[in-house]
Symmetry: C2
Subunit: 440 residues, 2 copies
């Protein structure tokens, strides 16, 4: 006992599970580090919602409203107390409210039994992957570039996602078909395809109605499920295209839901809609939601009833219409997107764009857009950008599970003020011009 | 589109991940089903805390207290708002309060950086397993009978836990040593040993001080980590033995923390204390807590700041001493345990016990005790018990990862009133006598 400190264990990182060495995580850490190292830089990196509309006092009002709702529904004081303090059903206690809201907001018509309340959409992704990918012969395909949450969840389970590259205008069904064929040729069975159909993170693209229908037909024909993740729809201005789930006549779509953008991230409440029929060997029927619930019992047991209470209170305040709660926010984000696009136009007149080979897309909603530049957008470039020009962005290569995006960057418009957007784009233009000159 | 319903997908359960077919989950579902089917039966099954001491209004007070604390610490109104509404650090925002509480309550002296706040202790288990078990050659050993949460988390990751049977008085280091040798002989590397040292779930046994020291020495000698899960200590009457973590001089112990019993389950807040040093290939040092945090970012992103706020408010109310918050509850549970033991003595006089071959242990704390009986405590027996005698218990076989416990049952004392305990044990005695007669 004398050599106390000398004897302390040292673990070797390469002996831990491979997921902790995932390059995506390292790059995300790097991004955080840069943000800390250059606190005065304007950062287009974080995808956080704008928080100017949040009001602390409302937390209390929302919890109260839910408790009143329980009381009006006939709950005894003891039941109300337990609904906040005890464990609670693993599948969640506000499933009926969520199903009601989905019907009103999204034309998604499912029974509450098909809904599993999760700790954010991230847990919903994890549950869906764990249920559907049973072994190394089961393939997960992802629209690429791709949200890091799905690749992260896959890494934990040793799943190597197969990237299906999107085109400039987004997802193309034909490319998915090619990828499916390639997987089958390798002896693997495509089980699920993950996509953000609306205002995608990171690219900002939206899937056309025609591609939506084609995707559902392909899923039926090729026998796989679509994992639909669509957190930006109701915080985007204007009319949205229908969700895949609302078009789904064959229960081919598992809809992964998030309240992080429509209500608030701190609730950590999301959900999965999994109305697929599952039969066991003896023919006993159940729902995929039941299987996700079992898995959830081994991950988080249940979603905080307190968080569910706040979310329920918010849903009740708008009679389930989260779209109505987001009139102001979606206008705000829409204006931010218009502002950044106008500012990019201003800072890069057409002749500059052509000369430099700079271009960007023009999403009509969501938090993100992408800019293609004529130089490598790697970590070294990011450091130069932060240090010499005071502006931070996210390298698009972070979002390509199998390589790509080396000459693109992602800008987020959700969190900055319009003044910061204006100044930030000016700095970005300086940085891009400086890099292009050096590269040239 | 005409054959809408006919075309709906049907998934085959045997094609989903094997974890959803885990027998433990099926038996747990069976137990729930029985509880629903016989609502008038007295149930000794649930391990939920007693909720008579909860008070809905306190939720509001605790959140307020935490917000005041932030304000006194110099946070701006915007920062306070964000601390509730935004995402927040993946490792948690109340780590300093938890570290302070651990020092005061448990003599565990670690820096806040070693703490990761999790969605209940269940997520902490999952993170620890995912980090430490890198592949099929890494072995997880568990004290058996064993809490189902650890076996469940293991199943998700395809890990087959190795059971180390405890004796009548609990864990024996010599048996672990034998199991370690056997694993090494199979070419596997023991990485972690999971144990509930105090008032174990399900058996109710407590590890002696001598075995605690011996376990730490063995861990150092054989180079593995101990996963210490100890949710019942501070809700048990009297002085507790020191935690393994407080005796740990070589950072051999990862302490898995729960507030479900000491504060309330609905918070879904737990934590891992992982102060182990980790070095990467280039020699860069970090903490195991950092690696758990990375994994958490792929499971739940972060623990609800709202839940953390309530927990923080409770900790602040007692200046970190959760033990003080639990004076009343630990007395309550202690009395419940004494009551059930007295009632068992009463219902089974010594000559009956000897004649029938019935015996039980006498835990001095926690929620559980075990009863050995002379017949099989299987699902069929449970149905007879519920239907014919109006009493429900948990078959101990549910808790043996590699078989065992076929003639034992677990009784929980945490949730029932003393009147129910009294009537329930009388019914149990009738059931046991009836089964023993039939068996004889």
């Amino acid at each position: 006992m004398a050599l106390v400190d000398m004897a302390a264990v040292t673990l070797r990182k390469e002996e831990l599970h491979a997921s902790v060495g995932d390059p995506v995580l390292d790059t995300m850490n790097f991004l955080n580090e840069i943000t800390h190292r250059y606190p005065k830089a304007i950062s287009f990196a974080p995808g956080r919602p704008y928080d100017g509309f949040f009001d602390v006092e409302e937390i209390f009002t929302h919890i109260r409203r839910y408790l009143d709702h329980l009381e009006q529904g006939g709950a005894t004081p003891g039941e109300i107390r337990n609904a906040l303090f005890q464990y609670g059903p693993t599948s969640g206690q506000i499933r009926a409210l969520i199903a009601d809201s989905l019907r009103k907001d999204e034309n998604i018509d499912v029974r509450p039994e098909s809904v599993v309340v999760t700790v954010g959409c991230q847990e919903a992704m994890f549950l869906a992957l764990r249920a559907l990918i049973a072994g190394p012969d089961d393939a997960l395909l992802v629209s690429s570039p791709c949200y890091v949450g799905i690749t992260g969840a896959a890494r934990l389970l040793g799943i190597e996602p197969i990237a299906v590259e999107e085109g400039r205008d987004g997802f193309r069904c034909a490319d998915l078909e090619t990828a499916l064929d390639a997987e089958r040729a390798r002896g693997r069975r495509p089980r699920a395809f993950y996509v953000v159909p609306d205002h995608s993170n990171p690219s900002g693209t939206t899937m056309s109605l025609e591609e939506r229908h084609a995707l559902l037909e392909l899923a039926a024909r090729e026998d796989f499920l679509v994992l639909e993740d669509s957190p930006y729809r109701l915080v985007s201005p204007g009319r949205q295209l229908p969700t895949l789930k609302s078009l789904d006549r064959e229960q081919r779509v598992v809809h992964l839901g998030s309240y992080s953008k429509t209500l608030f991230p701190g609730a950590r409440v999301g959900f999965a809609v999994a109305d697929q029929r599952v039969v066991d060997k003896d023919g006993n029927p159940g729902l995929l939601a039941d299987e996700l619930t079992k898995i959830k019992s081994m991950v988080t047991v249940n979603t905080s009833p307190l968080s569910q209470a706040v979310v329920a209170g918010m849903l009740l305040a708008a009679d389930g219409r989260t779209s109505e709660l987001n009139t102001e926010t979606s206008a705000y984000y829409g204006e931010a997107m218009q502002a950044i696009l106008a500012r990019l136009d201003e800072c890069f007149p057409q002749q500059d764009r052509d000369a430099l080979g700079v271009r960007w897309n023009r999403p009509d909603g969501g938090f993100f857009l992408t800019v293609d530049v004529p130089f490598r957008t790697d970590s070294a470039a990011l450091v130069r950008s932060a240090e010499d020009h005071g502006v931070i962005w996210t390298p698009m290569s972070y979002f390509y599970p199998q390589g790509g995006g080396e000459h693109s960057l992602r800008l987020s418009v959700s969190y900055l003020t319009q003044a910061d957007v204006s100044e930030g784009v000016a700095r970005l233009a300086q940085f891009i011009k400086s890099e292009s000159t050096n590269a040239g």
